[in-house]
């Protein structure tokens, strides 16, 4: 613990990041540039999220880290360990107990409160990037609110697939002003972006931070005749029986049998403990026994 400054980053760096966060909160959806530091992990593994978490954590905080909703995958485990070592903060897998939650590609199923902070890891913060590769031009488009191009992408989806096929990183408009990439969360999570917790987005390689203050209006872009739909697999969780949670599809064998389980492991485990069982939960229990 004494080998590191609290939460790894030096105080000047945290100050710089906090300024960027405050500016981001003041202008919801606006991408604030910041001097991203080298972190002891490769780009693409959450260097942005880790820096935002490091600048946000206090010694009294309880941290939860999830990757695609799960607490026990490589990315989540290693980042949780990182902060256990460098910050010595308490960690948890329980969504309601956490005060800071760092996430990759999911919003927890449990509704977050106004004393919690959700930190996203963002690979590409610029929603217009694949339509307009020039950063100078996309900045100008944000500044002048020229967002027609974003609808061209949705148009292409409908003309090719008959429906808006974009299923993750679905672009949103924040408070009627900035178009924002909500990071690659499934579009099922988009309606949850209007929440009571503070949401911070960190992109380390791209050196951008942006934010959504609590209760900010977030609209998913769509067409009048093709409205936005928050989709999920048409199935109930095979472990806990939940019908309203986002599901992962798991291939079981080479005969093509498959099962659907909640991607949020804490939510699923909590339901199972409360006695909710899905179609394959019994089979699973027998296997274990």
């Amino acid at each position: 613990m004494t080998d590191y400054n609290f939460a790894y980053l030096d105080e000047q760096t945290k100050r710089m990041i906090r300024r960027a966060i405050l500016k981001g909160l003041a202008i919801p959806g606006y991408q604030v540039p910041f001097a991203s530091r080298e972190m002891p992990m490769p780009y693409g593994w959450g260097t942005g999220g880790v820096q935002v978490s490091a600048a946000t954590l206090t010694p009294d905080d309880t941290l939860k880290v999830i990757d695609q909703g799960a607490d026990d995958t490589t990315n989540a485990v290693s980042i949780r360990k990182f902060f256990e070592v460098t910050a010595g903060v308490a960690t948890t897998e329980n969504t309601t107990e956490a005060s800071v939650i760092q996430t990759r590609h999911r919003i927890p199923e449990a509704e977050l409160r106004d004393d919690q902070i959700l930190v996203y890891q963002v690979p590409i913060p610029e929603p217009l990037r694949f339509l307009e590769p020039r950063e100078t031009e996309t900045r100008k488009m944000h500044a002048l609110e020229e967002y027609g191009l974003m609808h061209v992408k949705l148009y292409e989806d409908i003309s090719q697939h008959g429906a808006i096929a974009t299923s993750y990183a679905y672009p949103v408009k924040v408070e009627g002003r900035y178009v924002m990439d909500p990071s690659p969360i499934p579009k099922f999570d988009n309606p949850k972006l209007e929440m009571s917790a503070i949401q911070l987005f960190g992109a380390g390689r791209e050196q951008r931070i942006y934010a959504l203050p609590p209760y900010t209006k977030v609209e998913s872009l769509d067409f009048e005749d093709y409205p936005f739909e928050a989709t999920k697999a048409d199935h109930a969780c095979d472990m806990c029986g939940a019908e309203n949670s986002y599901l992962d599809e798991v291939i079981m064998d080479d005969q093509g049998s498959r099962m659907f389980v909640c991607s949020d492991t804490d939510f699923c485990a909590g339901r199972q403990q409360a006695g909710h069982l899905g179609a394959l939960a019994a089979v699973n229990a027998e296997d274990a026994a």
């Binding site: 339509l131 002048l144 020229e146 027609g148 191009l149 609808h151 061209v152 148009y155 292409e156 409908i158 003309s159 090719q160 067409f223 009048e224 005749d225 093709y226």
Partner: protein
């Protein structure tokens, strides 16, 4: 009648070299102005200054806006100028690739300008796109193909459709027939002439091809070394050129 475009004393310098200098003209609604000259004579520089792609070093470009009447586009705020660029103005590039999004379908290319000005109904955007593809003689079945799958002439026609879909009042064209073979050129010119007359468009056409201006332009401006050396009605200039350079230009045309 107020002119649609009033160009006053436009000058653009590249360091010590002159891009264009001392250019003045008025363009009235429904009129087509041709600008000819050899390469390096400042035609494209002038066109880019008029269309707001380059900032002129001197002079004013007054455009008759729908709300405020004549307004200098050089000094107007950028959002306003860019708004003009996607509503009342259109710019047809010499190379269709510069004016099209090559990784987006033909329908998306035509629809982009509609969506940029706020169209949010997929069905309407699509039917407008189909309508416009028809008007530039592209088969409806090609609507979901990418422009990379189109021939050069089709790409150029697609670029024109994409530009005209929002009903602009002023079209800038930079060598619209450059790089196309002659039979395709002829069809494109025919099509352009039809659209210009039918929609009552005003246009500024830059070209080095005298046949193009003979067909399309009402008035003609001849440029050399960044200066305008002769102006007048197209037929008048071409049939009775006064300036030595214009005489050279007219006599250089190959007679087949």
């Amino acid at each position: 009648m107020t002119p649609l475009l009033k160009v006053q004393n436009i000058a653009k310098f590249y360091g010590n070299r002159i891009g264009c200098r001392n250019v003045n003209f008025d363009l009235y609604p429904g009129e087509v102005m041709g600008i000819v000259g050899e390469s390096g004579s400042g035609k494209s520089t002038l066109l880019n200054c008029l269309a707001g792609h380059l900032v002129p070093d001197d002079g004013a470009v007054l455009f008759d806006t729908r709300t405020d009447g004549l307004k200098d586009t050089v000094t107007m705020p950028e959002p306003e100028r860019r708004m003009l660029g996607r509503t009342d103005w259109a710019f047809v590039h010499q190379h269709a690739r510069d004016g099209l999004r090559m990784n987006i379908s033909a329908g998306g290319n035509v629809g982009e300008r509609l969506m940029a000005v706020g169209a949010r109904h997929y069905g309407n955007i699509r039917s407008d796109a189909i309508d416009w593809l028809g008007r530039v003689e592209i088969n409806e079945t090609r609507i979901d193909d990418h422009p990379t799958a189109f021939s050069g002439g089709m790409q150029q026609r697609l670029q024109i459709a994409r530009n005209l879909v929002t009903g602009p009042r002023l079209v800038f064209m930079d060598e619209p027939t450059g790089g196309l073979d002659v039979s395709v050129q002829a069809r494109l010119l025919d099509l352009l002439r039809g659209l210009v007359r039918e929609m009552g468009l005003s246009a500024v056409i830059v070209t080095h091809d005298l046949a193009v201006v003979r067909l399309l332009a009402d008035r003609l401006m001849v440029m050399k070394d960044g200066h305008v050396v002769e102006t007048g009605l197209t037929d008048q200039v071409l049939d009775d050129p006064q300036h030595a350079y214009t005489q050279l230009l007219v006599s250089s045309v190959l007679q087949v």
